[in-house]
Symmetry: C2
Subunit: 132 residues, 2 copies
């Protein structure tokens, strides 16, 4: 299974994304909160994100869901901080919304679908319009 | 000001989106939770959404942020249930992510920017890529 990491500006918000996924998910995989700063609820920190990636890591890969701005740039920094025990080719930021992304991705994270295929599916999600 | 409504499959998740917005927002406008069913945490209900729209309503309009599936279709039903006291032309579902959408929209909801302009700005957000 591919591990998921959720990086939001709000640790509590990321927690609720994870709770929703855990209630709805059909397959058993890790979803780890990489939000907040040490001792702080708001913001993000490369070291906190790095720990979350290490915790969610599997040989199939890790997919990281972010909200905006520093959540994305600090995730890039976190990936660069990982040591060679982690295959960085298999650790990817999802180009997908923080909530809608994991909901769609978890439906196909069945242990057989490769990281690249989930990323392709999420690219399709971007084309979906909520309004007609 | 334009009122916002947040409709997620999880009432607690929507609450944290609202908390984050309330902490970050520069302008004073309503953000109302339209998630959950009567007495239930998960799911959505046209009547719950309708009440939220009525509560967030202003003459400048209402912008509704949804996650996926029934959150969207139940919001469409809720809009149809509103009586003629509400100008339905000014009540719109945002074609934007549940979290990223309100964060971007609230930055320009200054009381001068029209609903249609915020909707255009959110269309631009769709073109943004989180990965290079």
């Amino acid at each position: 299974m591919i591990g998921f990491v959720v990086v939001s500006h709000s640790k509590k918000l990321a927690n609720e994304v994870i709770n929703l996924c855990n209630k709805m998910k059909a397959y058993d995989f890790s979803i780890v909160n990489g939000s907040g700063k040490e001792g702080k609820e708001l913001g993000s920190d490369p070291l906190v994100i790095k720990k979350a990636i290490e915790s969610a890591y599997s040989k199939n890969g890790v997919l990281i869901f972010t909200d905006i701005g520093s959540s994305i740039s600090n995730t890039e920094k976190a990936i660069n901080l990982l040591n060679d025990n982690y295959d960085k080719e298999k650790i990817k930021i999802a180009d997908a919304p923080l909530v809608e992304g994991p909901i769609i991705a978890m439906a196909i994270n069945d242990g057989k679908t490769a990281l690249d295929n989930i990323i392709l599916e999420l690219k399709e999600l971007k084309k979906f319009n909520k309004t007609s």
